[in-house]
Symmetry: C2
Subunit: 98 residues, 2 copies
């Protein structure tokens, strides 16, 4: 699997972030061509320090070619273009593969 | 699922990191009690910049209680204690849940 991982920093308004992510952003991700799975999880710390990120999202594709085609598609570009609309704590994105 | 995510920074010697991770560290993770899945992936960038991390590892448990018991077990402590032996680029760890 080739997986796009997005690490979102802590937003200024977590409730607004969650609402936008759930109601606006996630529905933009679902139709990306070639997407095999999409999941996101809220982060918590293992100790007294705050978690380094607020939310982690993972978009899985069968191959790097599928990943590149999906992220480059109109749906992929729409979803990527939405990130600045809600990611007030920044977003770190990278690809990882088995 | 409750998932421990570990983000490893770029090591000074990637080949030595990979060898230790595969031959020493991963076999320490496998026997952690309650572990439902364990996977790790090398990171790559989506653009010309280097990926922010070298390797991402995910350890999944059914519940937070299982996660805490597993990470606190002798096997969990052995695996955690091994991290400084090879993570020359540092390691960032957090928990995330659905």
């Amino acid at each position: 699997m080739h997986i796009v991982t997005v690490l979102y920093g802590h937003p200024t308004d977590p409730a607004a972030f969650d609402k936008h992510y759930r109601e606006v952003h996630a529905p933009m991700v679902d139709p990306i061509p070639g997407l095999k799975s999409f999941s996101y999880r809220h982060c918590a710390s293992l100790d007294a320090n705050p978690a380094p990120y607020y939310l982690i999202a993972e978009l899985a594709f069968d191959s790097l070619e599928d990943l590149q085609a999906g992220m480059g598609s109109e749906a992929g570009q729409t979803a990527a273009g939405d990130v600045p609309n809600f990611a007030s704590g920044g977003a770190t994105m990278f690809v990882a593969h088995d």
